[in-house]
Amino acid sequence: MRRFVDLHLIPPLKDLSAIEKMVNLAFDVGLSTIAFTFPMDTPLEEIEHTRVICREAGVDFASRTDLSPSNPKDLIRVLRRVRKKFEIIGVFCHSQTVAKCAAKDSRVDLLNFPVESHFVFGRYSAHFTTPVCAALEIDVINITRFQGVERARIIGKLSRQLGVAKKLRIPIVISSGAMSWNAMRGPMDMATLVSLLGLDLQSAIEATSTSPMLILTRNRTKLDPSFVTSGVRFTRGKTIANAKDKT
């Protein structure tokens, strides 16, 4: 059975009732995994408390933080600090240099190009010559919160982003970007909406299920204490310790 994921929920973290409402709604609309965005300096206890709320509601939880670096140096410095703390890291790319650096860095999971920014992802696509490690994230809230001419402009911008991502074979992830319960949407509904932007429906469904789940599984493996490097895991600690004693 397909498991649907929403990797970008931004609840008001001080309001527990709002968090509970969003978690329950996520369960109702068929999301099996959700990621809440926390500020970088959030204590681990707070993250764990949210994890417990989600577990009680029957929803898998992932922690996420969003970075908005002003330059590549800033990005690398912050990444070093937060990579081990959060399961998902998204980068808001406001400039070409940041976008290039974030795309190359394997510690970045999601590239988000804000619709308000003057920087256009598609215009500099030729600069992404090296393989891109991160996935492109499309937030559905960018489409739903505007109307009329503004929405038309954003639809055009997002469809150009999707076109470039398809051309460069960058994985695509569809998220809601919801800050409250009334901005949350069902995964199939989000996929249908994004399919209007030039992505076929099957790929859009993959972008709400398989693609984000792959990113999450990969990161959870890396954050596991037994992980050594890609393909190497520390599995039988006791035996190795015993072997050392014998020698």
Binding site: D28, R185, M188, D189, T192, L193, L196
Partner: protein, 106 residues
């Protein structure tokens, strides 16, 4: 003339206040009009079959080619009659009998 095949879409609304059938139909029509225009609304050929204002569940009929059009439009609904609201498509079926069976079994 090409035969049109209907599709029935079950949906659920979460809103701050109880809604009438007219308000719901208006909100859905306006959403289609806003995203797909007058031609899209005409092609969709939507009819609100039923709406339970207590449970906030409803069934809407549309043309088989317009299911994705309808589904993508209801995502854009953020307010109904000035109140914050959210609409979720729950199931789609080709016959209303089957939809009710699926709907009630859930």
């Amino acid at each position: 003339m090409q035969k049109t095949r209907p599709r029935y879409l079950a949906f659920r609304i979460i809103a701050g206040k109880p809604l009438s059938q007219f308000e719901v139909f208006n909100a859905i029509s306006n959403a289609i009009l806003s995203l797909h225009g007058e031609y899209g609304l005409a092609c969709a050929n939507i009819h609100l079959i039923e709406f339970d204002s207590e449970k906030n569940h409803g069934i809407i009929k549309c043309d088989h080619k317009a299911v994705n059009l309808l589904r993508s439009s209801i995502v854009t609904i953020t307010h109904v009659d000035g109140q914050p609201a959210v609409v979720f498509a729950t199931r789609v079926s080709g016959t209303i009998k089957r939809l009710r069976q699926k709907f009630l079994s859930k």
